[in-house]
């Protein structure tokens, strides 16, 4: 595992400590300083960086795949890959790398003749040809359709393993996290959470991070009682809901509750006595090929979705259960 530390003042103030292993993802919204962080690690910005902070850019053992791939347009594909090489027969070495990912037939082409996905793979090979100790990727899935995105993520993961180089991906695309060994959330210039993706998805550190991870339902409440170490009884409007909190909360404290749309369970009238059950009118209903999505009426406006197996008309009244272990709460800032 590789530990990275980075402090910058401009253009975005950052103070980041991060551990990288295999395919790691740094998740953050646009403008949070993800690219600044990578540029600082590379020595392209003034920053206090560990390790390699004392070296000029060209001596840092880092590979970099920027947004837009930035292949050299005046060089052929093999020349792009051979660019950082010091071997005697650079052409042969570049061709061997291309062979390994099944792209040797493109060796003599110029980058402009390649598709976006092919350009990305060539740019990745070029970065790998440097034989770096860490590969940095800036938003590798931006501007890709979902299918290509999934292929790229799989290819990245595979190539990281083939070449035994750890990858650090900075992105706002949550879907990459599914393939990652580690992930971290960048917010307000700091790492808000760092660990295994499953762990962070189940316990986001705050509502903003939860929203970044795809949580859609948030509402406020007041703690009535602490039931156990992580279990709380919370009053939300006129209802009392059981919820899970990671931090310590006192009775009377105002909190924010959140639940992912897919965790809102659809029940029926016979479950009326179930825990955390909410009966609500539907105000919006969207039928999509895979999912049916709904939004319920205020005051507790909930967004939910379920697999679109049932083609019948949607009911006007829904019985919704919010499982206590999935209904998370955070202190209201």
């Amino acid at each position: 595992m590789l530990a990275l530390h980075c402090q910058t003042d401009t253009p975005v103030a950052l103070d980041i400590s991060l551990e990288v292993e295999g395919l790691s993802v740094l998740l953050g919204r646009s403008g949070e300083g993800k690219t600044t962080f990578l540029r600082a690690l590379l020595g392209l910005l003034p920053a206090r960086v560990e390790p390699w902070g004392h070296l000029p850019t060209e001596q840092r053992p880092l590979g970099y795949l920027p947004q837009g791939y930035r292949l050299f347009p005046h060089l052929r594909v093999w020349q792009n890959i051979a660019f950082p090489m010091r071997e005697r027969d650079r052409r042969q070495a570049a061709l061997e790398l291309l062979e390994r990912i099944g792209m040797s037939r493109f060796a003599e082409q110029y980058p402009a003749a390649l598709s976006g996905g092919q350009q990305q793979r060539v740019a990745l090979l070029r970065a790998i040809a440097r034989k770096p100790k860490l590969l940095l990727l800036d938003e590798p899935t931006s501007a890709l359709d979902p299918q290509t995105r999934d292929e790229i993520i799989a290819a990245l993961s595979e190539e990281s393993a083939i070449f035994s180089i750890p990858l650090l991906v900075v992105t706002h695309d949550v879907s990459i996290c599914a393939a990652a060994q580690r992930m971290a959330i960048l917010q307000d210039g700091r790492i808000q959470a760092d660990g295994e993706p499953a762990e962070i998805f189940s316990c986001p550190p705050n509502p903003q991070a939860a929203q970044m991870l795809g949580m859609e339902n948030f509402f406020t409440g007041r703690v009535e009682e602490k039931l156990s170490k992580q279990e709380y009884l919370v009053r939300v409007h006129s209802r009392r809901l059981r919820a899970t909190g990671m931090a310590d909360h006192s009775p009377g404290e105002e909190v924010i509750l959140g639940i992912r749309a897919e965790h809102v369970l659809l029940r029926d009238a016979k479950d009326a006595d179930a825990e955390n059950l909410i009966v609500s009118e539907v105000v919006e209903w969207h039928r999509q090929p895979l999912w049916q999505r709904f939004v319920t009426a205020p005051p507790l406006s909930l967004r939910g979705r379920f697999l679109a197996q049932d083609r019948s008309d949607p009911p006007r009244t829904l019985y919704l259960q919010l499982p206590a272990e999935k209904l998370l709460l955070w202190k209201k800032e």
């Binding site: 590379l42 850019t57 970099y64 930035r70 050299f72 005046h74 950082p84 110029y110 440097r130």
Partner: protein, 262 residues
């Protein structure tokens, strides 16, 4: 005829074509005199015309080399380093362009001439900068270098800085990046700058007239032929002037265009 590039979707294509051709005809119309105003049967060179041709070729080549060697770092610096006082540098480089050539010649003669302190200092070291080969070359450099620097700067500005950064991240030093990325990517603009500097140096008359009447190059010799012999002695030398001056920029342009199309 095979067209290079595509003009599909260009509005008003036919009128634009006619307009462009008309402008070109107007521009080159005076040159028809070189065909129709010339007594082809009695075509002959004036004395020392060949010497003037050699002088122009050799010294303009040297001046061009100096423009490239001295102007390229300056152009790169102007393109890449931005200071608060950069606009002043931009204005300073325009000064020799703005100055009428005759006036620039007078300024050079006053500064580097035998009665000026700089001129005396240089003479002391054996470098006389009036009516000598170095003076001829200096006059051409002063005339051509601002054009070269401005064009080369635009060429360097056209190279995305992020590609240079990528080169650094791939282990290349600033010097290697300049040779491997910046220079090849600025190639088209730089070749245009070289072509411009060449025709400017070859065709320079005003500055050279004052600073280096001798050794006589083609422009001054044309002037002398007109004064001493008449129009009949102008056109043959002008023909040769075009024949020796045009191939270099033409070759450079064709070469860079062919490479751009690859």
């Amino acid at each position: 005829m095979k067209r290079i590039g595509s003009s599909r979707g260009l509005p008003l294509e036919a009128p634009l074509l006619l307009f462009s051709l008309a402008i070109l005809v107007i521009l080159i119309a005076p040159f028809s005199e070189m065909f129709f105003g010339l007594d082809w049967q009695h075509l002959q060179f004036a004395p020392n015309d060949l010497h003037a041709i050699r002088t122009s070729l050799v010294y303009s080549g040297t001046a061009l080399l100096l423009c490239i060697l001295l102007g390229t770092p300056l152009a790169w610096w102007m393109a890449r380093r931005r200071y608060r006082w950069s606009p002043i540098v931009d204005a300073l480089i325009l000064l020799p362009l703005l100055t009428p050539p005759l006036a620039l010649g007078i300024l050079l003669a006053s500064f580097f001439g035998p009665y000026a302190s700089v001129g005396q200092f240089l003479s002391h070291w054996g470098l006389r900068l009036v009516n000598t080969a170095p003076a001829f070359i200096m006059a051409q450099v002063y005339a051509a270098m601002p054009y070269y620097v401005l064009s080369a700067r635009a060429a360097f500005e056209g190279v995305p800085t992020d590609l240079e950064e990528i080169s650094h991240t791939l282990g290349k030093s600033s010097w290697q990046t300049f040779w491997l990325v910046t220079l090849p990517m600025a190639r088209n603009g730089l070749t245009a700058a070289i072509a411009l500097a060449w025709v400017r140096a070859m065709g320079e008359f005003g500055v050279v007239l004052i600073v280096a009447y001798y050794p006589m190059g083609i422009p001054v010799k044309i002037y002398q032929n007109l004064e001493d012999i008449g129009l009949s002695a102008v056109y043959p030398l002008l023909w040769v002037f075009f024949l020796v001056a045009i191939p270099l920029p033409l070759w450079i342009r064709l070469r860079s265009r062919r490479q751009a199309l690859l």
